[in-house]
């Protein structure tokens, strides 16, 4: 049996055909306005040239940046009804206060801050009542709003009020598409509410994109289930993504990192993705990207959901090299997609990192004669500079002093030659150009939780056990097979200024889908 991994990016739609742990074939095509068309092209190409009957496809996994791009560009977003449970607290910071003016105009000012919420120790905050929520539900109906965001203070500790609120709103608005914040983010209210609102604003697009994917698979006569990859590299069923598009926001870099780890058979490594303009550094731990601990901005909006912890520097195959007073600088600017016109090896006038690599003999493309005049001194200095930049990046993402395997992917990996400081080994795997699609095809489902526990009341062991079980039951819900579920992350964060023993626990479980 075979699996198909697809990556629908802003420019390219890639497809790979996988058999067990083998990459059978990969193909790159252009992304189309209607994303399904690009998928049909890429998938049918690999199926045809390998003579695969669609009956032998057991599943399809898709990674996509469609939703990220739409949000960042403020395109195809909907008006949102924002229902916040937390009165009398939180009114000093109304919803969407830090969104751009344009976004605020699109989302609208349909806000309700109602009595409700919880305290950090689980006690009730405001008095949540059916009557008040019913009133809000009716007002939403009168305003004819379809996409609804519900955010409750400390809902990561107790989701009940969000669930009860959603139920009442749905009774009065059967067509409503509701997002509850406890499904989206962790402790940190403004960021979690922001992400919930973002998710609601993408509701219509999500429906359209998922339908387009479904139609494409129908057209391809593939009847197997299909899944979408989310930020942390695990998969969700397509029907869940339709309700939680925001959970795909960082799946692009995540898939590329997971794909790199898979191709080089490493579970713990640093992945260096060298593109034309920038290089991204990230860490894979037990096969999954390490997540960022600090808030991440997307399209100018601060969020706190699960994103891979990446750093990015201005170094790539098109980075411009300058010589000044015997000093060589590389980037941060790049000739970018104009490399094939502006680099010396292509007859241009700009000295780029690619020219240095060709001049040194490490790679052979373009016209080598055009870079013969470059002195050995300049080649050495430039190469040392590039190497230093990469070594510094590696060091910045490392968790500790130990050397770790380093995996190089992306077109710019030719810039690196030989050993790197801080790396126990340097690997450049085959098929790294379609690492994203391969990452998408790696079938696992996960669940996580982030709650505050009282060790003085529950005890440390029982609290941790409780957190682990919650994460596991969420992984089960997401489709993981029970026997394969493992806890891959467990973090205890003691809280300051609270009674000793208040600890925030973050646990994450993943398991195989097949």
């Amino acid at each position: 049996m075979f699996r198909i991994g697809v990556d629908v990016g802003g420019t390219n739609t890639d497809a790979v055909l996988m058999q067990g742990k083998e990459v059978v074939d990969g193909y790159k095509s252009a992304t189309t306005e209607e994303p399904g068309l690009g998928i049909i092209k890429a998938v049918s190409t690999i199926l045809n040239r390998n003579n695969i009957d669609t009956k032998n496809i057991e599943s399809v996994m898709i990674g996509t940046t469609q939703f990220t791009n739409a949000f960042v560009e403020n395109k195809r977003l909907e008006q949102v009804a924002v229902v916040r449970l937390g009165y009398p607290a939180t009114v000093s910071v109304p919803p969407c206060i830090d969104f751009s003016d344009n976004l605020r105009k699109i989302i609208g000012e349909n806000f309700w801050i109602v009595n409700g919420g919880y305290e950090f120790d689980g006690r009730l905050l405001g008095d949540w009542t059916t009557e008040e929520i019913t009133k809000v539900a009716k007002e939403i109906k009168n305003k004819n709003l379809k996409y609804i965001s519900i955010s409750c203070v400390f809902s990561p500790i107790n989701e009940q009020q969000e669930i009860d609120t959603a139920k009442i709103i749905k009774e009065h608005n059967p067509d409503a598409i509701i997002t509850m914040s406890h499904r989206i983010g962790r402790v940190g209210f403004v960021e979690r509410e922001n992400a919930t609102i973002m998710n609601s604003s993408l509701g219509k697009l999500a429906d359209k994109v998922i339908s387009s994917f479904k139609d494409a698979l129908k057209e391809l006569k593939i009847k197997s289930p299909f899944y979408i990859s989310q930020n942390d590299g695990t998969l969700m069923s397509a029907d869940i993504v339709k309700n939680y598009p925001v959970l795909t926001f960082a799946s692009g870099p995540t898939n590329s990192m997971r794909g790199a780890g898979f191709l080089s058979k490493k579970n713990n490594a640093i992945v260096v993705d060298i593109g034309g303009t920038t290089t991204d550094f990230g860490v894979i731990k037990e096969g999954f990207p390490r997540e960022s601990a600090i808030p991440v901005d997307i399209g100018g909006v601060r969020t706190n959901f699960r994103m891979p912890d990446l750093i990015s520097i201005g170094l790539g195959g098109g980075s411009i090299i300058r010589e000044n007073n015997n000093q060589v600088s590389v980037g941060p600017d790049s000739v970018g997609y104009k490399l094939d016109k502006e680099a010396l090896i292509f007859g241009g006038k700009t000295l780029t990192t690619s020219d240095i690599t060709v001049a040194s003999g490490d790679a052979n493309f373009g016209d080598k004669n055009k870079v013969e005049h470059i002195s050995n001194d300049l080649i050495t200095k430039s190469q040392n500079k590039i190497k230093n930049m990469i070594e510094e990046g590696i060091d910045r993402v490392k968790l500790n002093k130990d050397d770790v395997p380093v995996i190089l992917v992306g077109g710019g990996s030719i810039l690196v030659n030989g050993k790197l400081k801080g790396a126990s080994e340097v690997l450049i795997p085959d098929h790294s150009d379609v690492a994203n699609a391969i990452g998408a095809s790696l079938a696992q489902a996960g669940g996580e939780i982030d709650k505050i526990y009282s060790y003085s009341e529950m005890g440390r062991e029982k609290s941790i056990e409780n957190a682990k079980n919650d994460a596991i039951s969420r992984a089960l819900q997401a489709g993981a097979i029970k026997d394969t579920i493992k806890i891959i992350e467990l973090e205890e964060i003691p809280l300051s200024y609270l009674p000793s023993g208040s600890v925030r626990i973050h646990a994450k479980a993943v398991g195989d889908i097949f």
Binding site: T90, F120, D121, V397, I452, P494, S496, L498
Partner: protein, 364 residues
Amino acid sequence: MIELNLTNLEDLARGTAFLATGGGGDPYIGKLMLKHQLEQGKKVKIISPDEIDDDTFACNVLTMGAPTVFGEKAPNGLTSYEAMKKVEEIIGKKFNAIMPIEAGGVNATLPLVVGALSGLPVIDADGMGRAFPELQMVTYNVGDVSINPLVVINDFYETGIFNSRNSSSGEWLSRAVCVRMGGICQVACYPMNAKQIRETSVHNTIKLSFEIGSLIQKARDDKNDPVEEIIKYMGKSNPPRVGKLLFTGKIDDLLRETVNGWTRGKMYLKSLNDKDTLLVEFQNEFSYAKLNDNKVLAMVPDLICALDSETGEPITTDSLRYGQRIKIVAVSVPPIMRSEKALKLFGPRAFGLPFDYTPLEDIK
């Protein structure tokens, strides 16, 4: 007089993060609260302590509690103003100005929110000249300003009034109620007259925040080194301060624990040539920096700030991470924070450190 607007708000937030010296709580929520007030058309007037009239009577307002809770449960907004009115009611006299107790972190912005709500001017002076973890750690105590009446209030307008025997006891008692109020509460305390403001506070610290914030931004725009610019600027601040770049390096090790509600920790930095090590300890805020395990380079109350090597962005102890490139900058505090009485409140020994205070500029 300075008037706050949506543009200089960013400068203020960044400057207060600098003066928070690693602690003080995330100024983000405070910034959003102020943004909301300004968007409603509210004005915030900030006046220098040199401009105040003799009949000035000001109240200190602040948020007390756990930063994690503050990040989840922003306050009602009106309650700190209510706490202040409660103080007025008890002493039978109206306030005509507001004072920040702290120059760094979330409590540097909160009084400005009360300024917007009440229409009263905010005095550009505070009791800490930076951020400190507890209520008694203020220069007001040098002049024996009473913390009482100390009023705490929650989002339900439930109020607690303390008539404490001293400020340390006020801190101890109100902190316990704060936990029962859901881990965060609003506080009004230390009512002060003009003489007390002039003589016992650290002056011009809001202006200092604006200037630090704007010069970090300007240095970035002009492609200058923000850290260098900050150090140069300190000599021109009012009163003049000494700024020193203590160390440039990367985080080599990090240890963190919570003891009695405080986040304590140690950060070890290694210089880029691998030769030197700097230890920076923190107790919510950075408390001292020690070179190669034998020489203390700076200590409380002088400011020790961790800044991103490239951008100059102030880094809080929560977001320190292995491998980060950091510059450690120390800044001297004004003389009022260095008297014997002040050092008893927030000098090295007050933080349990086994040495006496040496001013930053005396350490060669």
